[in-house]
Symmetry: C2
Subunit: 400 residues, 2 copies
C-alpha cells in the first residue's frame, strides 16, 4: 500500500545528503498516464515556502507529470533566492525526466513538476546536493518505489505513513494510494506538512480538485496536534486514469476521503512527543463551524493538554476553553454544558457530574472527550494530542 | 507597599484550612471611606465562576465596602449550589463586618461585599471551613494587613505580588496600592486571576471605572502567558477618598495603569514553570488591534515558546505564526517582514538576516522579539513566557 499501488505511477526515494543523518531525503512520484490530472490543497499561511508558491501556480492548469519532494530543508523564508532554487529544482527535474524518456517526444515542462520541501525554516537548500539527488531519484524510479518515497520525506516522523483504499465502482477496479509526513506544526490549513495521493481512476481535473478539497476539509483540517500552522503544508492528488475506471464524483470523494482519514490518523498517532491521541467530539452545536470552533478551542488549551498527559480528566479546563468561544461564533448556554471523558459524564449542566476518579486515562493512548452544547444538531470530531515533556524536549532541541 | 498603604483601608489574611498545605487562604480588604467607590473588570469567559457572577452584579452601583477572597477553590462550574455558596459568603462577611462596627448604624449589606475565589475548578467550597475563616479575617483586620492578604490569595505563585504607586497631583498626596495572584491560566481578558487595587484618591465611580478599564487594557490584557483564559479573573479598584486629594481622570488613569503594569510584570516573572519572560513588540502595524493580533499569534505558538526555552532564536517559528493572522485583521506583505531577537536582526524582508548564532538567549531571563510589519505606525508590546518542562510538569500534576 503506497503511492505506486494504483496503476500508472512510478516512484523513488534516495539519499542526496541534505540530512546530516544520512537518511533518504529526496522523493519523486511520476505519473505515466494516460492522463496527468493533478489537484493540490496548500497551506493558508501567508508566510509560505517557495515550493508552495511554485506548486500553487503550477497546478492551476489541473495537470502534472511529477512531484519532487525533499526533506532536510523547508525552503521557507528564503526570499527571492529561495524561489529561484525551487524553480531550478522543477526545471532540473523536468529535464532529467525528459532525458529518461518520460513525456515522449515533447518531454516534460517545468510547469508539470510540483515541488514540496520540509525541514528547517530560514535556511537555503544546498542545490549542489539536491540536484544530483534528483538525478539519482529519476534513475531509481520504480513501479514499486512508493515505500522508498514515503521514507524519504520523513523528518521527525518515527515511521512512514502510507495508505491504500480500494475504489467502489461497479464492474471497475481502481484505488487511491497515499503517503504523508508530518509530526510537528500540525494544524489546519492544513494539518499535514506533505502528502501525495495517487489514483488510477479516470477523472477530470475539476472532479479531482473538488474531491481533494472535500476530503482534506473533513480529515487533515480536523487534526490540530499543536495549533501551529505550517509554512509548507501541501496535499497533492495525481490521477493517471490507468485503470480505465470512471468513478462518480461521489465515489472518488469517498475513496480520497478514506485515504486522507487514514493518513491523518497516522499523523496524530506519530505526533512529536505525544503520549495520547485525543478525539474531541462537540455535538449539539448550531452549525458544523460552531462545533469546530469549540473543539478547536479545547484542542489549543495547553492546560487541558497537559492534564491529559498527566492522566487527569480535568474537565474544568475543558469548560474554561469552551467558554472562550464568542457567542456569535457558537451560541450555547454555559449552564447546560455536558462533558464526558472516556465515556464518563464528569460534567453535567455546567456543574459537577460523575466522580473524575471513574475515568481511566492511563489504560490507552486514545482518549475521547465529548462536549454537548445542547444548542442544535451539528457535530464535529477534531483530533489533537497531549502536551508532554517529550514535545517540549523535541521542539526546544530540534531547530526547524 | 500593599493594599493598605493608601489611607482608609484595612486588610487581613488568615488560614481557614481550604488549602491542604495549611497556608493562608482567606483574605479580606475593607475600605473605611469616607467614600466607598468600587469598579471591577471581570473575565470575559462565558464559563465563569460563581463569584464573578456575584461581583459583576454587586459592583454595578459603583460602591463596595469590602472584598473577600479565598484561595484553595475556584467555585467555578459548581452550578446553582456554587452560586448559593458565594451569596452566603457575602452575607456572612457583611454580617461579621457589621458586628465589628464597620458601616456604623446601617452596618454592611451583602451587596457591598465583592467576592473572589481561586483554585480548583469543579469542586464545591467547604463552607464549614470558609465561614469561620471569614470571621477570623474580620477579627484580624489591620491597617498594615495588606501583606498578609497578598499572601493568602496565592496558589501556585512562588511569591506575593504587590505594588504602590504615588499619585501625581500638585499639592496633594495620594497613592494606589495593589496585590495580585496568578501563575497559570494567564491570558486576556484578563491576564490575572485576582487583583485588588486600593486608592485614597477622592474620585467618583465613573472615573474609577474608566481608569480601571483603560489600565487593564494596556497591562493585564497584554499578558498572554499560556493562552488559557481563566474562569475567575477579577480586577477590583476600591477608592476610599481618605486623602482628600482629587486627581484628574488622566492622573488617576496614569497611576492605576502604573500599578497594574507593575503587577502584570510580576505575574509574568512568576508564571508557572517559565524560564524566560518574552516581550513581543509588533510595530509598523496599521492599527493597535492589528499589532496585538500578530503579537498574540506569536505568543500562542508552542513551537516558538519551546524554542525560546531551548535558547534557540528560531525566527522561522515567529514568521510562521505571524503568517496565520488573516489579512483583514492585519494587512502586511510577508516579503517585507523583519524580525529581531534580543536586538539581532535575524530576519530581513521575510528572508535570512544576521546569523542566529549572534543571539544569546541563555544570558538573561528576559527576551525581546521585535516584528516590523512595515504597514503602518501602530505598535504594541505583549508579554508571554516560554514553554518548559516545568510548565508541563506543574500542569499535569496540579489539578486546577
Amino acid at each position: 500500500m503506497s503511492v505506486t499501488s494504483p496503476a500508472g505511477f512510478r516512484a523513488a526515494g534516495v539519499t542526496a545528503g541534505l540530512k546530516t543523518s544520512g537518511r533518504p531525503d529526496v522523493a519523486l512520484v511520476v505519473t505515466e498516464g494516460p492522463r496527468h490530472v493533478a489537484a493540490a490543497v496548500l497551506t493558508s499561511n501567508r508566510v509560505h515556502a517557495a515550493p508552495v508558491t511554485w506548486t500553487r501556480q503550477a497546478v492551476k492548469d489541473g495537470t502534472a507529470r511529477a512531484v519532487v519532494l525533499n526533506s532536510g530543508g523547508a525552503n521557507a523564508c528564503t526570499g527571492p533566492e529561495g524561489f529561484a532554487d525551487t524553480h531550478r529544482t522543477a526545471e532540473h527535474t523536468a529535464a532529467a525526466l525528459g532525458a529518461a524518456g518520460i513525456g515522449g517526444e515533447d518531454g516534460v515542462g517545468a510547469g508539470d513538476v510540483l515541488v514540496c520541501s520540509t525541514g528547517l525554516i530560514g535556511v537555503r537548500l544546498p542545490m549542489d546536493l539536491l540536484l544530483p539527488g534528483v538525478d539519482a531519484a529519476v534513475a531509481a524510479l520504480a513501479a514499486d518505489g512508493g515505500d522508498a518515497a514515503a521514507h524519504a520525506i520523513m523528518t521527525t516522523d518515527t515511521r512512514s505513513k502510507q495508505t491504500l483504499v480500494t475504489g467502489e465502482t461497479a464492474g471497475a477496479g481502481w484505488s487511491v494510494g497515499g503517503m504523508a509526513k508530518g509530526a510537528g506544526m500540525l494544524a489546519p490549513g492544513l494539518a499535514t506538512m506533505l502528502c501525495v495521493l495517487t489514483t488510477d481512476a479516470d477523472v477530470d481535473a475539476a472532479t479531482a480538485d473538488a474531491a481533494l478539497r472535500a476530503a482534506t476539509a473533513a480529515t487533515f483540517d480536523r487534526v490540530d496536534s499543536d495549533g501551529c500552522m505550517s509554512t509548507n503544508d501541501t496535499v497533492i492528488l495525481l490521477a493517471s486514469g490507468a485503470s480505465g475506471a470512471t468513478p462518480s464524483a461521489a465515489e472518488l470523494t469517498r475513496a480520497v476521503t478514506a485515504a486522507c482519514a487514514d493518513l491523518a490518523r497516522q499523523l496524530v498517532a506519530d505526533a512529536e512527543g505525544a503520549s495520547h491521541d485525543i478525539a474531541i467530539t462537540v455535538r449539539g452545536a448550531t452549525t458544523q463551524d460552531a462545533a469546530l470552533a469549540v473543539a478547536r478551542a479545547v484542542s489549543r488549551s495547553n492546560l487541558f493538554k497537559a492534564a491529559i498527559f498527566g492522566n487527569d480528566p480535568n474537565w474544568g479546563r475543558v469548560l474554561s476553553a469552551v467558554g472562550t468561544v464568542p457567542e456569535d461564533v457558537a451560541p450555547f448556554d454555559a449552564l447546560t454544558l455536558d462533558v464526558a471523558v472516556n465515556g464518563v459524564q464528569v460534567c453535567r449542566a455546567g456543574g459537577v457530574g460523575e466522580p473524575r476518579e471513574l475515568v481511566d486515562l492511563a489504560a490507552a493512548r486514545e482518549v475521547t472527550v465529548e462536549v454537548d452544547l445542547h444548542a442544535g444538531d451539528a457535530e464535529v470530531t477534531l483530533w489533537t494530542n497531549d502536551l508532554t515533556h517529550d514535545y517540549v524536549h523535541e521542539n526546544s532541541a530540534y531547530s526547524s
